[in-house]
């Protein structure tokens, strides 16, 4: 692209990389259409959040240092996840606090890092993505995106401009779905109970599609809805915004 608004590095996240490459391509498409040159820095793996949240600061730091190095020099770092985005934007400075060599670099990265949807709406000034999606959808506010990064209205605003789409809110869209990283396998009974309550809230809306901005929550909710035999399709919000809502939904054949 000859003229760009800046260089954006995409942090793909391990779950998008492994489970749902479509989300990564949707993010690239949205960012390029907004006028940015998108690169996927090589050498990126995991942001270190699993270690950080398990109390293993050493391994979290080791991985965070790699991320800081890999993403230096870009105007913006965009993450299709509020959870990994929050790890970098909020917790990296905390992780390196008091370290004269690393804290400034961590703060610089934190300041340049945004969750995808809020980047589009708040930084890129995107008001509509030109997509079409023929369904009633409901939107789950993933916890880290909502509470650490303030992602709430941005997603709803952009979804409101998607042709054919009707947004029907859950009674409690902001309540955790029970994923919680390793929580979901360490305390499966509680996690499944929370996922069931979320599934009930989703189904009560009558929506045909459930959207959210984090693969962890999406896998959890899609997995629970499928186990309950629900017909609700589950997608990352970026897929719908990018006009890729015709691909098979998460954990579905079609």
């Amino acid at each position: 692209m000859a003229q760009t608004r800046g260089r954006v590095a995409l942090l793909v996240t391990c779950l998008v990389d492994l489970f749902r490459p479509t989300v990564g391509f949707a993010a690239v498409a949205l960012l390029e259409r907004a006028g940015y040159a998108v690169e996927v820095p090589p050498g990126q793996t995991c942001c270190g959040q699993p270690g950080f949240n398990t109390g293993d600061r050493a391994s979290a730091r080791a991985l965070a240092e790699r991320v800081i190095e890999a993403f230096e020099g870009y105007d913006h770092v965009v993450v299709p996840s509020g959870s990994c985005g929050g790890m970098i934007a909020v917790h990296y400075p905390e992780l390196f606090a008091g370290d004269p060599a690393w804290e400034p670099r961590a703060r610089s990265l934190a300041a340049r890092t945004r969750e995808l949807v809020s980047f589009l709406a708040d930084v890129a000034g995107v008001e509509a993505t030109g997509a079409r999606y023929e369904d009633t959808v409901t939107y789950h506010d993933s916890c880290s995106g909502l509470r650490e990064l303030g992602v709430r209205d941005q997603a709803r605003r952009l979804l409101g401009k998607v042709a054919g789409l009707t947004l029907k809110e859950m009674r409690h869209p902001e309540v955790c779905c029970g994923f919680g990283g390793t929580f979901c396998v360490k305390y499966p009974a509680i996690s499944v109970k929370m996922a069931s309550e979320k599934a009930a809230d989703v189904q009560a809306t009558g929506a045909g599609t459930l959207l959210a901005g984090d693969m962890g929550c999406l896998l959890n909710m899609a997995g629970r809805l499928a186990r309950e035999g629900s017909a609700v399709r589950v997608r990352h919000v970026a897929e719908v915004l990018a006009g890729m809502g015709d691909r098979p939904a998460i954990g579905r054949a079609s």
Partner: protein
């Protein structure tokens, strides 16, 4: 932090088992369902009515931060003022000293019956069984506390102790305890139940020799203790008997009455959604000449129980807590399992931070781990306590002590090792994506997976699309 003997006994180590039982208990689940809407909606409405609510939270936090920075000064000032008013302050390092102080006061006054207002410190030091063991009858006078005392259960919520009970269960308890099991006396309506409890308790108020209350605040400048209640039972507890004992932990002190009124503005709104609790009662020493009522003796049992150690630790901010209960009202884990599953006195997010400090991390290690870090507790905490960060600090201590479960340590170690080797990581991810996609079959979902029963026991695992993003990106596929 060394381990203190738990009093009362703890079942926090059995949290997963407790939680499973709670999830399988339909009556409890129904009660929790009611609670969730009730407190959350009321707090939201109270907050919406007060545009400066968040600014008040900042002010309240600043008051507590200042007080904690000068805790010694304000506690000594408080003691001097209590003493000047004719009361006594008993400094107690731990639960045993606090129990002994209460017993000594009761014995000095020949007490046989003790009425009690609601006090979480009373629960923390296990005062009721201790008094019973020494021949003194404690009578809870807060309706919720009274109900669970009849049921021989601990509170399941710090401001709504019997929230796990439904009215049929309460009705049965009243039949058993008030009418010797005569089921013809069974009451159905809540007003009738409340009236009956009031009649029974009124007699006990008049019989009591000593009244024990908690304290929401201790006021350094005046030596006053403050309680907020909705039933008025606290007032009868502390004015009718000959002796008033206040149980309070030392972080309850604030410098001035202005500070009390500032923090009060966020307390009830956060707790019950009320602008103010029905009763806000200030006590200052024993009855003076010319006073119409009040106790003849006034004692404050001031409990540390490990709090001064928190003061110098990464858990310092938890000492700002004013025990409103908003964190548990909004916690999805508390909402799923209720308060008893936590296994000790303080449930919910605040309990998951406090309990490891009070009964030891080995006993309570599940509690800080049983959180999704959803952050709703911190979002609603009137004192802006960073509860998720505190929980993470406990996990750090657990990990540093080598006490995290072996599977977590090994799994995480392998993950971190792999993630530091991008080429190998990419190869492993490609392999995993293919393998899981294969296992997903034409349905694209995995119903059960060896070693992943934690996931697949209650939900399917959506299959990956088949190729990793990195592989597709490297090939230039998926681009225009």
């Amino acid at each position: 932090m060394s381990t203190l003997p738990a009093s009362p006994p703890s079942t926090a180590h059995a949290f997963p088992l407790n939680a499973a039982g709670a999830i399988a208990d339909p009556a409890l689940q129904k009660a929790m369902g009611r609670l969730k809407g009730h407190f959350i909606d009321k707090r939201a409405a109270a907050r919406a009515r007060l545009p400066e609510f968040d600014a008040l939270r900042d002010a309240a936090k600043a008051i507590k931060d200042h007080t904690l920075a000068h805790l010694d000064l304000y506690l000594e000032r408080f003691e001097a003022q209590v003493t000047a008013a004719g009361g006594h302050v008993h400094w107690c390092r731990d639960a045993a000293e606090a129990r002994a102080a209460v017993l000594a006061i009761c014995r000095e006054h020949g007490a046989r019956i003790v009425t009690k207002g609601k006090s979480m410190i009373g629960e923390e030091i296990g005062i009721n069984p201790f008094l019973e063991a020494h021949g003194i009858e404690p009578v809870e006078t807060d309706l919720g506390e009274y109900i669970i005392q009849l049921a021989h259960e601990p509170p399941s919520h710090i401001i709504a102790p019997a929230v796990h009970k439904n009215k049929e269960q309460i009705s049965d308890l009243f039949v058993e305890h008030h009418h010797a099991g005569d089921r013809s006396r069974r009451l159905e309506g809540i007003p009738e139940l409340v009236t009956e409890a009031r009649e029974v308790l009124r007699r006990r108020f008049l019989e009591a020799d000593v009244g024990i209350t908690g304290a929401n605040f201790l006021v350094a400048e005046t030596g006053q203790t403050v309680i907020v209640t909705n039933e008025g039972n606290g007032d009868l507890t502390q004015t009718l008997p000959r002796v008033h004992i206040v149980l309070a932990s030392l972080e309850k002190v604030v410098p001035t009455l202005e500070d009390v009124s500032a923090v009060l503005r966020v307390l009830a709104r956060s707790a019950t959604g009320q602008e103010f609790s029905t009763y806000t009662t200030f006590s200052c020493g024993p009855r003076r000449a010319g006073d119409h009522d009040g106790p003849g003796a006034f004692h404050v049992v001031l409990l540390d129980n490990g709090r001064t150690r928190l003061l110098g630790s990464e858990f310092r901010e938890v000492l700002r807590c004013i025990r409103c209960g908003a964190c548990m009202n909004h916690c999805p884990v508390y909402g799923a399992v209720g308060g008893h599953a936590y296994g000790w006195v303080y449930p919910g997010p605040i309990g998951s931070v406090l309990t490891p400090a009070l009964v030891g991390l080995p006993e309570a290690h599940h509690l800080p781990n049983a959180s999704t870090f959803c952050g709703r507790c911190e979002e609603v905490c009137p004192m802006r306590i960073p509860l998720p960060r505190m929980l993470r600090h406990w996990r750090e201590r657990e990990f540093a002590a080598g006490a995290a479960p072996a599977a977590a340590r090994w799994g995480l170690g392998l993950w971190a090792w792999l993630a530091r080797r991008p080429a190998l990581y990419r190869a492993a991810a490609r392999l995993a994506a293919r393998a899981l996609a294969f296992l997903g079959g034409p349905e694209r979902r995995i119903r059960s997976l060896p070693l992943a029963g934690g996931w697949t026991g209650g939900r399917d695992l959506p299959a990956p699309e088949g190729r990793t993003f990195q592989a597709l990106w490297a090939e230039g596929r998926g681009r225009r």
